[in-house]
């Protein structure tokens, strides 16, 4: 089956069998490898992408449901190869060890900041609670999202 949807601002048309996951299409058909596989069971959050602005597990999302929709992946967070304040905040806080969890976490953080520019610590925790980080970089990640929110509000540099 052939279907078209928007990925990071570009219309893409893919051939995929029914039942193919969005994650498989991103990684193996479109060459967007930044979205990671962790479990395939909606349990770890490594594969999170935005579909029409909402965080969605790409590992379990049937690509055939996406015709005409808009998908944003981690690659779509930077524009013109420039890092966004959210990504820069993760570097400023050195928020990560192995970094495998970060793509998905950045996506959920972006969705949060898009709808709530002034999140509390509890809001951030709630937004990230379906993500796992085995390295234990949680506190740095929470600080990075707070920092990004402040930067985006123009309160800190």
């Amino acid at each position: 089956m052939s279907l078209s949807f928007t990925v990071n601002g570009e219309t893409r048309t893919v051939e995929a069998a029914a039942g193919t996951s969005l994650l498989d299409v991103l990684r193996n058909h479109l060459g967007l490898v930044g979205t990671r596989f962790g479990c395939g069971l909606e349990q770890c959050g490594s594969c999170m992408v935005l579909v029409d602005g909402e965080p969605v597990h790409a590992c379990s999302r049937d690509v055939s449901t996406l015709a005409g929709r808009t998908v944003t992946t981690i690659e779509g967070l930077s524009s013109d190869g420039k890092r966004q304040p959210l990504q820069q905040a993760f570097l400023d806080e050195q928020a990560g060890q192995c970094g495998y969890c970060l793509s998905g976490i950045l996506i959920s953080a972006k969705a949060l900041l898009d709808r709530n520019p002034r999140p509390s610590r509890a809001d951030i925790v709630a937004a990230l609670d379906r993500h796992l980080c085995r390295c234990g970089a949680h506190q740095r990640i929470l600080r990075a999202v707070e920092r990004a929110a402040a930067v985006m509000r123009g309160e800190a540099g």
């Binding site: 930044g34 979205t35 069971l41 990560g96 060890q97 192995c98 793509s103 609670d129 234990g136």
Partner: protein, 702 residues
């Protein structure tokens, strides 16, 4: 060569195994230590840049490459900075001295007249036109290291000791192809493996037609004895075949496990090898004997990414990419398992998710290599499935620990015995273990006699079994359990976490017997000034002086250890609230790792170790059923989540001129112990067994 050289240099004496000057005016440093999320590549670059007086950006680091880099065995046990880092420091100091000698000859001056500024050689402050690259051709890097050059004093460091940002993180926050999983080059073949349920199991039949139907695409099925792989150009097809194969395979002689075997208590009655260590048996009959038993069950590494590997066999040469902890050992192990000469194999490291020890990485490499040998000329990518990672990675061994403590008349330990029942902590291939797939081949390796690192080498089950406190006599009775139900191997800190948990739990309870404050009790039997300082500082930070009474549901606890009794020191305080569950609210950690190359990176490691230790202590246990390991997803193997991770305040004390000590594992044991003691304080009763489940909390209160 002097005997005082680090082992890495003794094994790899040639300078060019470590350092090269590249034409683009950079210096390439090579290391056998690999990045596993701990920031080692950044730290080694800092050491080299500092010793050579180069800007950090002009040093590139090649890590884990059997073709060009040194063999430093595994990236483990907090050795990377202690041994790998000091090797690079010595190499760079020597090459710097050689370069200055050459330049001095050209300039007709003494090397002592020259200074190095950003790689340029200055004579009495003036440019000379000479630098590393102008003289590089005259430095003979094929020579062996002499080890006679003196590295800089800590006070002269300008890059070491700085919070240099990690080199690999930018790609990891931008969705770059940062991981081995992301090598998806055109024409690559995806493979999945049908795992032999247990060693010795025989594949009776395989419904290949049904598997092909379920795969919904072109698939090759490779079978050799009890090893089966599914290979396809489409990853989803290989995956679907592997899922279907589980139902289509009939196995004979599968070893069935039972839930009883998943408990540490099961170990006590198993055949074991006795490995006593330390003082002769205590005088009998013992006086004032206190005894208590503690345990930790089997726990998983549980990397966020399942293991992955790439292999290609072309023109008689096998090239393997892996995220394992040691490329040279992997190369040797593959050569032995595949019957290839070692020169016919190159192994290179690519990043994976954090591994925290010996997980499935090497096994995946063997899978890929086996398949590549059958399909020459093709790049093979094996990625384990999530359930495969949980079900077949080696797990951290269960430990049962009984402490027998004889007290003196004042109530302090006079004689201490740590008695341990545990399977081996190290079954890496080639040292007690085998690459998983070789068990499934026609001639599986003969069962190896289990062994465990001796105390002198830091110990396995016995790691940190001897308290650092001043106790007149102590010994270890180590029962190395010979036939555990599952494959066990190295997990962050080996036996340190369970042992420190047991020792520190016991100390709190001993203090209570004589009505003394746990901090004061510890300080009364702890003479090492570095250790005392940490405990005092941690106590200050957490407000120990105003610690409330026991049994209120709120608790404050301390834990302390020096990792391996010779690496970094850490004291941890934990504040908890307990009702039906334990909530760790805050953590304070003070550590002393001597010279710290990258303080922020070090704190990152300490924090990660604390989070993992809390997770193991409160939540984690590998569970068994008939088919083996039953906890095969994150639902049945939960780990600490964002909403459960405490606030943490982590600090490193000034190194005070002391040498660098490995610190990646030092916070784990103290954190587990601090949580254990805080929970005991909150409940007014002790929980001896990890994880601290609701049932155990309720039971402790009865």
């Amino acid at each position: 060569m002097t005997a005082a050289l680090p082992t890495s240099l003794i094994e790899n004496p040639r300078l060019d195994r470590w350092i090269r000057f590249l034409p683009d005016r950079t210096v390439r440093i090579a290391s056998g230590k690999v990045e596993i999320g701990q920031g080692i590549v950044t730290a080694l670059g800092q050491i080299a840049a500092d010793e050579l007086d180069l800007p950090y950006g002009r040093v590139v680091v090649l890590s884990g490459d059997t073709a060009e880099g040194p063999d430093e065995l595994y990236t483990s046990s907090s050795h990377s900075i202690e041994i790998g880092g000091s090797s690079i420091r010595l190499i760079c100091a020597e090459v710097r001295a050689n370069a200055l000698e050459r330049a001095a000859l050209r300039l007709n001056c003494s090397p002592t007249d020259l200074a190095v500024v950003e790689g340029r050689f200055l004579q009495c402050g003036a440019e000379t036109g000479q630098d590393y690259w102008t003289v590089a051709g005259e430095i003979d890097l094929t020579q062996n290291v002499k080890g006679t050059a003196t590295p800089k004093a800590a006070s002269a460091h300008s890059i070491v000791g700085q919070d240099v940002p990690r080199r690999d993180l930018p790609a990891k926050v931008s969705g770059g192809a940062a991981f081995i999983h992301d090598v998806l080059t055109h024409g690559i073949l995806h493979a999945r493996v049908l795992r032999q349920p247990s060693p010795g199991a025989q594949l009776v039949s395989l419904g290949e037609a049904a598997i092909r139907r379920a795969a919904k695409g072109e698939i090759q099925i490779l079978r050799e004895a009890n090893f089966v792989a599914f290979v396809s150009e489409a990853e989803s097809v290989a995956d679907a075949a592997a899922v279907a194969a589980e139902r289509q395979a009939r196995w004979d002689r599968v070893r069935k496990l039972t839930p009883e075997q998943q408990e540490a208590a099961w170990l006590r009655d198993q055949p074991s090898e006795e490995r006593p260590h330390g003082a002769a048996a205590a005088a009998s009959p013992p006086r004032n004997l206190v005894r208590a038993t503690y345990s930790r069950p089997y726990v998983a590494h549980a990397s966020l990414a399942p293991s992955c590997a790439l292999a290609e066999y072309r023109d008689g040469h096998l090239t393997v990419h892996s995220h394992g902890q040691g490329m040279h050992p992997l190369r040797r192990n593959l050569a032995a398992a595949l019957g290839l000469p070692i020169e016919a194999i190159t192994a290179r490291h690519l990043h994976g998710a954090g591994c925290y020890g010996h997980n499935g990485a090497d096994d995946a490499a063997m899978d890929a290599a086996l398949i590549a040998m059958r399909l020459p000329g093709r790049q093979i990518r094996v990625r384990w499935r999530r359930e495969e990672e949980f079900g077949f990675e080696p797990v951290g061994p269960a430990m049962l620990i009984t402490l027998h403590v004889q007290l003196d008349d004042r109530g302090y330990p006079a004689d201490w015995t740590t008695e341990i029942w545990s399977p081996t902590h190290v079954q890496r291939p080639g040292s007690g273990g085998a690459l998983l797939a070789s068990e499934a081949l026609a001639n599986p390796p003969p069962p190896a006699k289990p062994t465990d690192p001796p105390v002198e080498r830091g110990g396995g089950a016995t790691r940190n079994a001897i308290p650092l406190y001043d106790i007149p006599a102590h010994r270890i009775l180590h029962h190395l359990v010979l036939n555990p139900p599952v494959r066990t191997s190295a997990l962050r800190g080996l036996g340190a976490l369970p042992n420190v948990f047991a020792i520190e739990s016991m100390l709190d309870d001993l203090a209570a017997r004589i009505g003394q404050d746990p901090l004061a009790y510890r300080l009364a039997i702890l003479f090492d000034p570095r250790a005392r300082r940490l405990l005092e500082q941690a106590a200050l930070r957490c407000g120990w002086a105003s610690r409330g009474p026991a049994g209120t549901g709120k608790g404050l606890g301390l834990g302390f250890a020096r990792y391996k009794n010779r690496s970094a020191y850490a004291a941890v305080a934990a504040a908890v609230a307990v009702d039906e569950e334990v909530r760790v609210e805050r953590i304070w950690c003070v550590a002393d790792a001597g010279l710290v190359v990258n303080p922020d990176g070090a704190r990152n490691q300490l924090e990660g170790g604390i989070v993992q230790a809390i997770s193991w202590t409160l939540k984690e246990q590998v569970r068994f059923d008939e088919r083996g390991i039953a906890s095969r997803d994150w639902g049945s193997y939960p780990i600490l989540s964002f909403s459960e991770v405490p606030e943490m305040q982590v600090e490193l004390v000034d190194g005070a001129g002391n040498p660098a000590l490995g610190l990646g594992e030092c916070s784990c044991g103290p954190a587990a112990a601090a949580v254990g003691n805080a929970v005991a304080h909150a409940l007014g009763a002790r929980i001896h067994d990890m994880p601290f489940t609701r049932e155990r909390i309720v039971k402790a209160l009865l």
